[in-house]
Symmetry: C2
Subunit: 331 residues, 2 copies
């Protein structure tokens, strides 16, 4: 089928393909949150039940299906991936002071910094218990090293905040670490579980990583477009002085006066109410969103191409569609 004419699936159709697995994953998540410590169950349920699309566990479920995996360990490992992701979100909330995530108040707004840090730690530990119980040594290596990579990426990102000389290369390295590594692991572990050869393992790893980069690039573009349906405010990154690709593109094309503007607003974090409007106009002037989304689309194509080693199937179409959806959230 020619990819131009290909009819991709929407998220509901994708979820339907793994619906019974996904239900099992949700049950494992609820079970592992437990109800021993009320503060943990309250906060975890708030964040884990607040409408996340479970994209990462769905990747594990779909890729396991693609590899014709016959066991049940993929279910707990998919839950484990979601736990790692949720722990990162909770710790990100502490960090970013973001006011809106997924259209609801962040956990941090409702529960405070302390609880977010500690419940994040709990979910993170729980993810390790799940992987120890369900993963081979090789899977444990992949997931524990992924966790380190995520943390390294988050710290690296923190050290580039307010730094206008951050290069595109550094930025791409950060999003590879903090976002794409977990997407990559979510896909790779299915091939390991199913005892597929290195070629297949690498294909799925590449699929996940490229999709993850495309996903984060789109996220960073969305920060300057806003999305009511995704409940995103405009300009959170700008207000924090966080350097993402749209700003890097503007800086690359900036004239002297614009450089002074970015130095004042991003490096010195001296911002007036009008500065976001000015930033948005510069982003428009330099077509920074278009360029960011175009790069996201390139990574999306590379993700889809990585699946070439698999014959056509409904499951493969679902994975291709998921990659398309990662860059088509701009509504």
């Amino acid at each position: 089928m020619n990819s131009i004419n290909k009819i991709y699936l929407n998220i509901a159709q994708i979820q339907k393909i793994v619906s019974s697995d996904l239900e099992n994953v949700n049950n494992i998540i609820i079970e592992n949150i437990g109800n021993e410590v009320p503060m943990i169950s309250e906060l975890s349920q708030h964040i884990l039940a607040s409408g996340g699309k479970r994209i990462r566990p769905i990747i594990t479920l779909l890729t396991s299906k693609l590899c014709d995996y016959k066991g049940e360990n993929h279910l707990s490992l998919a839950a484990c991936i979601e736990f790692i992701h949720t722990a990162t979100l909770l710790h990100d909330d502490v960090i970013d002071e973001s006011k809106l995530r997924r259209g609801v108040a962040t956990a941090n707004d409702l529960f405070g910094n302390k609880t977010s840090v500690l419940v994040g730690d709990f979910l993170f530990s729980r993810s390790f218990e799940l992987m120890v119980a369900n993963g081979s040594k090789r899977i444990l290596e992949v997931l524990s090293s992924t966790s380190s990579t995520i943390a390294k990426g988050e710290v690296l990102q923190l050290s580039t905040i307010n730094n206008c000389s951050t290069s595109e290369e550094t930025y791409i390295n950060i999003i590879k670490s903090k976002t794409a590594s977990l997407f990559g692991a979510a896909a790779e572990i299915s091939a390991i579980l199913s005892e597929k050869n290195k070629n297949i393992q690498n294909a799925l790893l590449t699929y996940g990583q490229k999709l993850g980069i495309a996903f984060q690039l789109t996220d960073d573009a969305l920060d300057y477009i806003g999305s009511e349906s995704l409940g995103k405010d405009i300009g959170d990154d700008f207000k924090e002085g966080k350097i993402t690709l749209p700003i890097i593109i503007c800086l690359r094309n900036a004239n002297k006066e614009e450089i002074l503007f970015w130095n004042k607003t991003i490096e010195d974090l001296k911002q007036t109410d009008q500065d976001l409007t000015k930033a948005l106009s510069l982003i428009k002037k330099h077509q920074a969103i278009e360029e960011t989304l175009s790069l996201a689309n390139q990574y999306c194509s590379e993700a889809i191409n990585a699946l070439d080693v698999f014959p056509h199937s409904e499951t493969k179409l679902a994975l291709e569609s998921l990659a398309k959806l990662a860059v088509n959230r701009v509504k």
Copy 2:
């Protein structure tokens, strides 16, 4: 030898017994911090090199020696234990806004909340990489479940803050989880590594756990005594409204006026400059420090008794001395 006449070792003598192992552990720690991300190495070195006594890794080293372990995995696992502990410290700093730890400014004071959370996450992930590389499935189970237990304890503690009705039982459960579980695991893993029977595994687990409880009880007493040599301020717990045993003892013996005082200062956190002085006088009146330390001494004895299954040796004496030191920090 009669325990009354026994001459215990000091910390320098204890460290000397495992000095070459301890040097290896320090090298593994430095190696695993790495120097890829400057912010990570800077902060980790600050906290990991700031004069901690390495009590937890020393427990792993001594108990491995006691079990006559011939391999090398205990070195990385001891480093792993110190990483978990350090991650907890970093996240605790975010939480407790403690101004002084080990006599130097906390990492949080110097580096900020965000960095403490993220570098803590990195060290925590690194600890999992170390255990995956060096631990059997059983050791991974013990250490991952210990991490969950610590996080549960921390959240439970958070939910008792400002709550004057916290019982001694709840308090003991909290310190068992947040502190004693890691001490227990530090000792237990040596028996597992050395393939000792369940009886020996349990003896070392008990030793570590009881020592950990004694250690935390002493810490909580020290909070109201202060210790220049340990660099501890007086009354940090009181200022936060944190309920520890000295306060529970005061509440148990309080008259009506005293109950009002504790409700105002701990539950409502309405404190004047004189209130700490008043709290200290009530603690004195009800002999709350003496009672707390007496309980610590009981747990210390239970820790030492747990070692009865081992014949006398210099290593055993070192472990007994470590337990004694945990409760004899009151200087």
